[in-house]
């Protein structure tokens, strides 16, 4: 980030050596929530409790390969009429490999008109992210996406 205070960006991820050439490793998507890392599972549990998460209704749009893991555009839309009787109450995004599993939690209601949000997130490594929508009837729906992150060839510090 800022060059002024001499802080390096990626001491956690960096390998020793002159030029750091990072190779992206393509990983197969994880099938079930149960096999995701513990932190991600814990974050999901805090969101849904014991409820079942149904795949579907949710569309998580994220590019499969990005220019830089620092700024990954992602959009979530949910198939819902957004009426008082049937709407999306909340949308949550969680990730698999960052130091912290939560990304964003959004509270919505019928006044949203359409349950579509977008933001820019940081991903530390190639990983899976998951969007969970909570509907007004208490049910949970989800979608997953894999993002490949490559590290820059020439680091600043």
């Amino acid at each position: 980030m800022s060059a002024e205070n001499g802080v390096t960006r990626r001491d956690v991820l960096r390998h020793a050596g002159a030029a750091t050439l990072a190779i992206a490793v393509v990983r197969p998507p994880i099938g079930e929530a149960e096999s995701a890392p513990a932190a991600m599972q814990e974050a999901i549990r805090k969101i849904v409790g014991d409820a079942k998460i149904n795949p579907g209704k949710v569309k998580l749009d994220v590019p499969p390969l990005v220019d830089n893991g620092n700024v990954v555009g992602c959009a979530v839309t949910v198939d819902s009429p957004m009426t008082a009787a049937d709407h999306v109450k909340a949308i949550h995004i969680v990730n698999e490999k960052n130091p912290q599993a939560n990304v964003i939690s959004v509270r919505l209601g019928p006044r949203a008109g359409t349950p579509a949000i977008a933001t820019r997130i940081r991903l530390a490594d190639t990983q899976e992210i998951m969007a969970i929508a909570e509907l007004s009837d208490g049910s949970f729906w989800s979608d997953r996406a894999n993002v490949i992150i490559t590290l820059g060839a020439c680091l600043e510090d």
Binding site: S2, R111, G113, A118, R120
Partner: protein, 106 residues
């Protein structure tokens, strides 16, 4: 200079769903970086973002360290009546920023 950029249509038809784009200047220091001396750089992020429409909450988000610097958030709301949309960001170290935008609804 905490500066925000809001994009809301100036006019809309009653009942129309409008898209709102927001961008605010903030470093979003994740709290997971370390200096070259191994000292952890303290977290400094925006933690909440709300939008109220004539006083009624229409959008609320809790943000975490994974949100990129200079947070960009877009969402939608139904244009119900003319009035004011107030956007508020709060975060670590007492961070607070507010912007208002008026909208004409026909």
């Amino acid at each position: 200079m905490a500066r925000a950029l809001i994009n809301v249509p100036a006019r809309a038809k009653r009942g129309e769903v409008i898209a709102i784009k927001t961008l605010i200047s903030h470093v979003m220091e994740s709290g997971f970086r370390h200096t070259s001396d191994g000292v952890r750089v303290a977290r400094d992020i925006i933690t909440t973002f709300d939008c109220t429409y004539n006083g009624v909450e229409v959008f609320h988000a809790d943000l975490y360290s994974a949100i990129a610097a200079n947070p960009f958030i877009t969402f939608h709301t139904v244009a119900t009546e003319s009035g004011t949309l107030v956007f508020k960001w709060t975060g670590d170290n007492g961070f607070s920023a507010t912007e208002s935008v008026t909208i004409q609804v026909e």
